[in-house]
């Protein structure tokens, strides 16, 4: 790899600026985590406390007040299943677009993306009525369907742009050697497209986990996700920042840690073929 850069004024300057900007941008999140371990009095102390004896009592209170584990389970189930289902139907479509290009491939892709541009709220009343009629209000099934459909255009687009980079010749060679469609998929497409599949899945998992509009409007106590649990802390009931921070910390910790570990894979797919 590249040799270690010599220490220059420019390098020192860049390091300082980069760290300063990063710390400012990360500060709100860091502050949230600190506050989660404070007592309510410490949370609103003036001037703000940076050093204090941490307490864990907020965690017990949050679990007691709102059933954290239930919401967390709902978040995991809805985001994972909707992502897997979405990938299962988006991958064939992306494959078809990438390897059987036709003159309307581009239009089809743009149409798919345009369905995503319509604000979800435009479909609120009908979807609510449909969910109600089908008895799906406040169920995970409703969220899974909605999450899957609302991420589908992004999935097709991401998978399409990653599959498009696979040279046709490789598939041709496999066919010439007599590979069946399944073998072609299993032995050639899947290994080569794994990166794209992985990063698409990661992004959609994050998007589904963080989805707040439909979960706020279609679910409540039974199938609510962590996003809805937090919204219930928005009503002002005196000063409750430590508990709010703690609940927030518990709600985002799984996905943030997950994101940290997967960010490299995630980012590779996020280029949407923008990098040649």
């Amino acid at each position: 790899m590249a040799p270690k850069p010599p220490i220059t004024a420019a390098l020192v300057g860049r390091t300082v600026v980069a760290w300063a900007v990063t710390l400012v941008l990360f500060f709100p999140l860091g502050w949230l985590v600190l506050t989660a371990f404070k007592t309510e009095m410490q949370a609103i102390s003036v001037p703000p406390l940076l050093f204090f004896t941490p307490t864990l009592e907020n965690f017990a209170e949050v679990q007691a007040r709102s059933d954290y584990l239930l919401y967390a389970t709902n978040s995991v189930i809805t985001s994972v299943i909707s992502t897997l289902l979405g990938l299962a139907i988006a991958f064939p479509a992306a494959y078809s677009m990438a390897f059987f290009r036709s003159k309307w491939t581009r239009d089809l892709l743009m149409w798919m993306l345009s369905t995503k541009m319509m604000p979800a709220v435009g479909a609120l009343v009908p979807i609510y009525v449909l969910a109600q009629t089908a008895g799906l209000l406040d169920t995970r099934v409703a969220l899974i369907i909605v999450f899957m459909l609302s991420n589908l255009p992004i999935m097709v687009w991401m998978l399409y742009s990653s599959l498009r980079d696979i040279p046709h010749e490789i598939l041709e060679a496999a066919r010439m050697d007599g590979a069946t469609l399944w073998q072609e998929f299993r032995r050639v497409l899947l290994p080569l497209g794994m990166g794209g599949l992985f990063s698409t899945g990661l992004l959609c998992l994050v998007l589904a986990w963080n989805e707040a509009f439909w979960s706020l409007n279609l679910t409540s106590a039974k199938a609510g996700t962590l996003a809805t649990m937090i919204a219930s802390y928005s009503s002002p009931e005196g000063l409750f920042w430590a508990k709010l921070s703690c609940a927030s910390f518990m709600a985002i910790a799984p996905i943030v840690v997950f994101g940290w570990f997967s960010q490299r894979q995630l980012v590779q797919g996020l280029t949407f073929g923008a990098v040649k």
């Binding site: 900007v21 078809s96 009908p126 928005s234």
Partner: protein
């Protein structure tokens, strides 16, 4: 859509005009049917996802439909539209929607490119900086909103108020006096990491030799930026604008959990206005009319975007 269906039915007929198979394939009989069969699940579900709510919304928008008075439904023509469009909140909401969209895109693209350039070359702790920088993108919007509203922007105990105090300034009541700006800050904070990471990745594929040559020839930084970096980032910028537009046109949770659209309509965007009509005023008819207006606006923006940057996305 319909073409797809009929083409599938004709699969064993003559070569269909819709497909241009680039390379000759041995499994020719599969090739006409297969691409459509593979597309079908995605296309059909998305089509249903689009058309069913759309038709229902059109229907609801033409009748009297109040959720509190379920019995009274009757055709009332365009009255719901008239009500929605002549509501003074309407124009405020349109302006707010576009302001929010535009500001966040400008902040995240400019800031993202700047940050991307800043952390493009190695420096001590670059890996950790990347991890910390991307974090806000993973934060649930409702958490993001409450975090900023209380811990950061509270006029008495918030961190910003304390900083203002420290410098002897009068703390700002952000939610009251700068509601839309506050929402913009929250949303931009969430999307800046996303833009930054896309640009960082794109910068990694810069042609280093070309850059080196330009430096040798004495190109100043601004010149390098203008003639090398920005053109190279063109496609990524298009991608960022496209994806962010998709999500920013319908910002909801940040407004719902913080300002509630207020004070007045100061931070009401179109999505929130429709929500207010539907679930706070229980007027599903007016909300449906509003939804269709939103769909039209989304399409206007989409057409505009695709014209502008669509060719970068192909």
């Amino acid at each position: 859509m319909f073409r797809l269906r009929s083409a599938t039915l004709n699969a064993n007929g003559a070569a269909s005009a819709a497909t241009q198979v680039a390379i000759p394939r041995p499994r020719a009989e599969v090739n006409r049917f297969l691409p459509r069969a593979l597309l079908a699940p995605s296309v059909v579900t998305l089509f249903l996802w689009m058309i069913v709510p759309l038709v229902m919304t059109i229907y609801f928008s033409l009748i009297r439909y109040n959720l509190m008075q379920p019995g009274e439904t009757g055709f009332i023509g365009l009255a719901n539209y008239e009500y929605f469009v002549t509501d003074p909140s309407f124009w405020a909401a349109i302006v707010n929607t576009l302001l929010l969209l535009g500001s966040v895109i400008v902040i995240t693209v400019v800031g993202g490119v700047a940050l991307g350039l800043l952390i493009d070359d190695p420096f001590p702790g670059r890996g950790l900086v990347r991890v910390l920088l991307i974090s806000p993108f993973f934060v649930i919007p409702t958490v993001n909103a409450l975090l900023w509203k209380h811990m950061m922007m509270n006029p008495i105990y918030g961190v910003l108020a304390q900083i203002w105090h420290f410098f002897g300034a009068q703390p700002v009541d952000w939610m009251q006096d700068w509601p839309l700006f506050s929402v913009i800050v929250m949303v931009a904070w969430q999307w800046l990491p996303f833009a930054t990471l896309i640009f960082v990745t794109a910068l990694q594929s810069m042609n280093r030799e070309q850059l080196e040559a330009a430096r040798m020839d004495g190109a100043r930084y601004l010149q390098q930026l203008r003639y090398l970096y920005v053109p190279h980032l063109g496609r990524s910028i298009a991608v960022v604008i496209m994806i962010e537009t998709i999500f920013l046109l319908s910002v909801f949770a940040e407004i719902f959990t913080t300002t509630g659209g207020g004070p007045g309509d100061a931070s009401t965007n179109l999505a929130f206005l429709i929500f207010k009509q539907a679930l706070l005023n229980f007027d599903a008819g007016v909300a449906s009319a509003g939804a269709l207006v939103a769909v039209v606006l989304a399409n206007v923006v989409a057409v505009f975007l695709i014209r502008m940057i669509g060719k970068n996305l192909d």
